[in-house]
Amino acid sequence: MSEERSYGFKEHIWPLRDKMFRLAQRITLSREEAEDVVQDTLERLWRDRERLSLIDSVEAWTLRLVRNLSLDRLKRSGRQAVELDPERDATAAPGADRTLELEEGMRLVREAMDRLPEVQRSIMELRDIEGKSYAEIAEILELTESQVKVYLHRGREKVKKSLIGV
């Protein structure tokens, strides 16, 4: 292994940990499982580091791997449906400057997001949190841009409906 390869891993993969973690958490809905997915992803990429130079977009490749490993975990545990992780919700500490109304609205949004089908959740994560373009999301999730927009529209609409009643 050359020093140059090691440098590439450190420079291009290591800084993606937060994005990996957020996407994994959005899919698995579990902080612990998300941590495991990040670890698994890093190990996998480290083993394949010699081939990273052959990949056009390392970030898209990495996030696709995160999604696949997250889905594998869900499949292995037989947990396809939504299970709210109390520990994860507990990490969302209430802000001192937030009104009760806002806190309640945020709780409803989080619950609505967690209830979305996985693909809508992942797309909202990649778009609204990570700021990815439709083309990038399509590449990561192996969909067309039109499909991405349709899923995003459905996801956002469901979240909106959860808020309208507030």
Binding site: M1, W14, R17, F21, D128, V159, L163
Partner: protein, 145 residues
């Protein structure tokens, strides 16, 4: 009264997934500032507040050295300890042997004491040849140990 038509249109486009990233940033910035959000749009603040909160989520700190070691380092400390132990045992053995004294009978015969030195040398050479060959053949193994 302020006109929020632009924001309302952006919001509609946002829910139809027709906004650009730049337009979404405008919405984000607008809803982060509580004071400028009118009552009829306040409910949407929660959505952008959750998104902002999610953006701040970080992966737990793991060892910075993960996967970045070029090669696994071999810990040589046990080998040094073993070598030191062997050396101590050998020294103690030699010291004990010297302190017990070596009798004249145990001493190796000197050249003068040997009546026929050539024959004595031949016998010694014959006796040591197999051991010498074994050492040469197994030199790789010996080196590793």
């Amino acid at each position: 009264m302020k006109d929020y038509k632009y924001i309302e249109e952006l919001l509609e486009s946002y829910f139809r997934a027709e906004t650009s990233l730049q337009e979404e940033q405008i919405l984000n910035a607008f809803f982060q500032d509580e004071n400028q959000v009118p009552q009829h749009l306040k409910a949407y603040r929660a959505l952008f507040a959750v998104e902002e909160e999610m953006r701040r989520e970080r992966a737990p700190q793991t060892s910075e050295s993960f996967g970045l070691q070029p090669a696994r380092r071999v810990n040589l400390r046990p080998f040094y300890r073993a070598a030191a132990s062997v050396a101590i045992v050998l020294c103690l053995g030699m010291a004990a042997s010297m302190s017990m004294g070596v009798t004249g009978d145990d001493k190796a015969p000197t050249a003068e004491a040997v009546e026929n030195p050539d024959a004595e040398f031949g016998e010694m050479e014959q006796a040591l040849t197999p051991q010498s060959s074994a050492v040469v053949e197994k030199k790789d193994t010996l080196f590793l140990y």
